[in-house]
């Protein structure tokens, strides 16, 4: 136990030191703090983009789903892959547009494209509303990981408090440079830990992959395929499509895009990232190994399966190392989310309210927002209680509503009016809110539909409402000639 505590503690210290060291030699203007002065090469951009793969969501939620739900967990593998093939076309276009305009946030992009600060404000609200639950998720994950890996010596609350304080310090000092530096350590550790577990555990408990899956299929028939109803094929397809278009509507990815030096970085990444994320497979193997080895965890507790199995199998030093890697999967994405949300609040909300504030003031406000956001997220993490995947899926539905307005903004000028785009987003978000709060599903809403339609991800409905409103409003409100003319000049 002391060994695992020592490993956890030293990793924590190294991560903070690395985060602080990253500032060396850079004056932190807003552009430097938020998007690294647009000077990141392939490796840093790759690691920032790959950050989505190894958040606490994949580490705990991925193994938790494999453990609790079986085959439906594979959707994670699919949506990331399809998101990368989409990124090949989407990201260079975003980067090219942002480059000459000094954009630092996602809201900047929308407000520039639609020439409307109101649009920027709306996108800011949507972005922050989605980022906060995501941040909460990282903190909750951090609490679970440290409590488990320290054999209960550190309570989740203590872990969340110290994690939050550490985050605030290195984010305020180093901005996105700190995230990029700690991301290198994180990816190295997680690669080693995840592959080691995913290879060792199936062999240790079953003698091999084939034997393990045969044993699971015998003990739980149907667990390794998609069921006929519920998380069925139509659920799988709709969820994969919805989440893969949703990935790049997350505000932190826009910031990640801006950090790049050149647009070809994204094309090369689109080739490499599908291979890199195959490592998620080993997370699933761990979860599957746990289904027979440590049965009985249900609901939100399924997220604990990885650590329960690790503790039942390994010596404390190994558990400590796994915990340290897990700790980083919370800290690094957490820092990116914090920077993104703080930048949005300063640049697109504060600046909209106080238009003549100087660049320095905006930079100061951004950093001042960090503790505010971090403490809000901490409060929610300490007092809320939802399973990890459910929380993330809600955030996904929230940001995905930006997708129509994003895609229709490409070309020389947006293809729809600002009014139509904004009305669509608002209608979509309203639908997401109603659906999430009432726990509605298509099966409850329309019991007479065929099974395949009932299983569709409810997020599709919100997106359809969004598109319908865009279409209807577009009939009445055309692009204003003035705005169109300004674009051409």
């Amino acid at each position: 136990m002391t060994v695992s505590l020592a490993i956890l503690g030293s990793c924590f210290v190294v991560a903070i030191a690395l985060g602080l060291y990253a500032k060396r030699g850079h004056t932190m203007t807003l552009e430097q703090w938020s998007v690294g002065g647009r000077g990141f090469g392939s490796l840093f951009v790759f690691l920032l983009m790959a950050g989505e793969i190894y958040t606490t969501f994949t580490f705990l939620g991925g193994s938790g789903w494999a453990y609790g739900k079986g085959a439906p967990a594979l959707y994670i593998l699919c949506y990331l892959t399809l998101a990368y093939s989409l990124s090949y076309f989407l990201l260079p276009a975003i980067w090219r547009y942002a480059r000459g305009r000094r954009l630092v946030s996602q809201a900047d992009f929308f407000s520039a494209k639609y020439e409307s600060p109101a649009m920027g404000l709306l996108v800011s609200v949507v972005g922050v509303a989605a980022l906060v639950p995501y941040l909460v998720l990282q903190l909750k994950g951090l609490g679970i990981i440290v409590a488990e890996a320290s054999y209960g010596a550190i309570s989740p609350a203590t872990a969340m408090w110290s994690g939050t304080v550490a985050l605030m310090v290195y984010v305020v000092v180093s901005g996105v440079r700190g995230s990029a530096w700690t991301a290198t350590l994180k990816d190295l550790m997680i690669l080693i830990v995840v592959v080691a577990m995913g290879v060792y555990l199936p062999f240790h408990y079953h003698g091999g992959y084939g034997a393990m899956f045969a044993a699971i299929d015998a003990a739980k028939p149907g667990f390794l395929t998609l069921p006929a109803s519920g998380m069925s094929q139509s659920w799988f397809v709709s969820t994969v499509l919805l989440t893969s278009v949703g990935v790049y509507t997350w505000p932190q990815f826009f910031a990640g895009v801006y950090t790049a030096k050149s647009e070809n970085v994204f094309r090369k990444n689109a080739v490499m990232l599908p291979l890199y994320q195959l490592v998620v497979l080993f997370v699933f193997f761990t979860g599957f190994a746990a289904t027979l080895a440590v049965p009985g965890l249900t609901g939100a507790d399924a997220d604990l399966s990885l650590f329960r199995l690790a503790k039942a199998t390994f010596a404390p030093w190994a558990v400590g190392t796994i915990g340290a890697a897990g700790l980083l999967t919370a800290l690094v994405p957490g820092s990116v989310l914090l920077i993104t949300a703080a930048t949005i609040l300063a640049k697109n909300v504060f600046r909209a309210a106080v238009p003549h504030s100087s660049e320095q003031t905006v930079g100061f406000v951004a950093r001042a927002m960090v503790p505010v956001l971090a403490l809000c997220a901490l409060y929610l993490a300490l007092h809320g209680g939802q399973a990890i995947v459910a929380l993330l899926l809600m955030g996904y539905n929230v940001v995905t509503q930006l997708f129509p307005a994003l895609v229709l903004s490409f070309g020389d000028r947006p293809r729809i009016s600002t009014t139509a785009a904004m009305a669509g987003i608002i209608a979509g978000e309203f639908t997401v809110a109603v659906v999430s709060l009432s726990g509605m599903s298509l099966a409850k809403l329309a019991p007479s539909l065929p099974q395949a339609a009932k299983d569709l991800n409810i997020g599709i409905v919100a997106l359809l409402v969004n598109l319908a409103v865009v279409a209807v409003v577009s009939v009445f409100v055309r692009r204003t000639p003035a705005a169109a003319a300004a674009h051409i000049s």
Partner: protein
């Protein structure tokens, strides 16, 4: 947009870009056929192996698209640092 910044090149769509749709079609379209446990492939349930196969195929397909784009001069060589800085100096915001 400042007058001296070059207009962004509109993305040039080529017919071969449709290749990028293959992963989605194959991975998801094949589900009715692939949704089974046996035969195990390299010890993996058939469904899992099918999806992993498509992940590998996606990397190969995107590498192919990148090669074609390079050949057609769409995936341009990296913009140099000074280029970016020049533009930034010209930006008005």
């Amino acid at each position: 947009m400042p007058a001296d910044a070059p207009a962004p090149r509109p993305h040039q769509w080529r017919r071969y870009h449709a290749l990028a749709l293959l992963p989605a079609l194959g991975m998801l379209g094949g589900l009715p056929f692939a949704n089974r446990v046996y035969p195990l492939v390299f010890g993996l349930p058939f469904l899992m192996a099918w999806l992993v196969g498509w992940v590998l195929a996606t990397a190969a397909i995107m590498a192919w698209v990148l090669r074609l784009d390079r050949k057609h001069g769409i995936a341009t060589d990296d913009v140099t640092r000074s280029d970016t800085e020049h533009e930034r100096a010209g930006a008005t915001r």
